[in-house]
């Protein structure tokens, strides 16, 4: 006796919705970098972005601790924005 053929559900369409809000998107993780002796913003930009000219992006993300882009000190923890 032949087996009964399996039902075919390949054309099933589905959906869903809710009265509840969707979760907030996760905040992007912020990378940090601790300055070591001999670092410059250009060097750090080159290291993280592959482009030394993007030092300004790092400076702008750290104006709370940096007043002068030419003066960074070992031990300072800098936020490195996403490229």
């Amino acid at each position: 006796m032949a087996d009964k053929p399996k039902a075919d559900f390949s054309d099933v369409t589905a959906g869903s919705s809710s009265t509840a809000p969707a979760p907030a998107p996760a905040a992007p993780a912020v990378r940090t970098y601790t300055v070591v002796r001999g670092d410059t913003l250009s060097k750090i930009a080159k290291q993280h972005y592959g482009d030394a000219n993007r030092w300004k992006k790092i400076f702008e993300a750290n104006t709370d601790i940096l007043k002068d882009p030419d003066r960074i000190f070992p031990g300072q923890v800098l936020k490195i924005p996403d490229a």
Binding site: A7, T13, G15, S16, S18, T19, A20, A24
Partner: protein, 155 residues
């Protein structure tokens, strides 16, 4: 008449005390009524819980089925309305639909929600070529924990 300096000092001292007492009285908060309930504290939000699962072939604007059914026709779109209470920043509600005649998975859908109170989440499935007759089951899971299930039949 000459007043004794000791009496003058005493009178001044009493006046000062009375003034200080009066000032303090003004600053003092009004006494709470004896029957007043304790100051309301920020109540912790209730934990998320799925409270109901109803099937139907039509939804109201509140995403609840307009009529709870367990028997459907081959051409029906089937709605599963999931009621929940409580709050959570992230709950993955999953509806797993199976065809009980051969145990086949019909569909699995996930709706991720962040409820802040009572909510209704609906899942629906349709089959343009018509549902094979037989018994079906839908299982609702919250974060992969089965919380509700219901059998239904297509005739």
């Amino acid at each position: 008449m000459r007043t004794h300096p000791r009496f003058t000092h005493l009178a001044a001292l009493l006046l000062c005390c009375a003034a200080v007492a009066a000032c303090k009285k003004e600053e003092a908060p009004p006494p709470a009524p004896a029957t007043a309930p304790a100051a309301p504290q920020a109540a912790a939000p209730a934990a998320f819980a799925v409270t109901s699962l109803d099937l139907g072939k039509q939804l109201g604007p509140d995403k609840k089925v307009t009529e709870s059914l367990t028997v459907f026709a081959a051409g029906d779109t089937i709605y599963a309305s999931v009621g929940s209470t409580g709050a959570s920043p992230n709950v993955a509600l999953k509806a797993r639909w199976t065809y009980e005649e051969d145990g086949q998975l019909v569909n699995e859908s996930v709706q991720t929600i962040a409820p802040t109170g009572p909510a209704v989440t609906e899942f629906h499935i349709g089959k343009p070529s018509g549902w094979p007759p037989g018994k079906y089951k839908v299982v609702i899971s919250a974060n992969d924990q089965p919380v509700q299930s219901k059998m239904y039949e297509v005739k």
